[in-house]
Subunit: 90 residues, 2 copies
């Protein structure tokens, strides 16, 4: 099974809401909303808007947080990540 | 049982890390890290720093996201919230 993923970055939140809705409309049973760093707040907004405003039959199945080490010019930086699994009610 | 809570706002992340460590050191078995809006990313940082850098025996027991309606001068605003339950290993 293919994993359906939406990576949330710095664009307006509705861009990612639309991307998530599109994946569900194309038949996905689960969509994973992923983000890191400051975009984490926006990923939570995406999940909340999708399930509250557009798809009442979609719920939060799982949420994971983790830390990634990024190699930058100024040395290694730790950045937090989130994965929010949205799923249609069975 | 009293609920041990740390509300994460706009101060430096280490303030909230220290508040969380203090509650565990004073005997809490669980501490709930809460935030809303843009502070959500910082709450994830707090949880990750506490468990990765300071308290390896503490893990993420549960994460909940939700939406709160705030009444502001410009009308009602929806804001996302997060609750991260950190718990000592049994």
């Amino acid at each position: 099974m293919t994993e359906h993923v939406v990576y949330v970055g710095n664009k307006p939140v509705m861009n990612y809401v639309l991307a998530t809705l599109t994946q569900f409309n194309e038949g996905a049973d689960e969509v994973v909303v992923k983000a890191r760093g400051r975009a984490i707040s926006r990923a939570v907004d995406v999940a909340e808007i999708v399930r509250n405003r557009f798809l009442p039959n979609v719920g939060v199945k799982d949420i994971k947080i983790d830390t990634e080490e990024l190699n930058s010019e100024r040395g290694n930086i730790n950045v937090s990540t989130i994965e929010i699994v949205l799923a249609k009610a069975a």
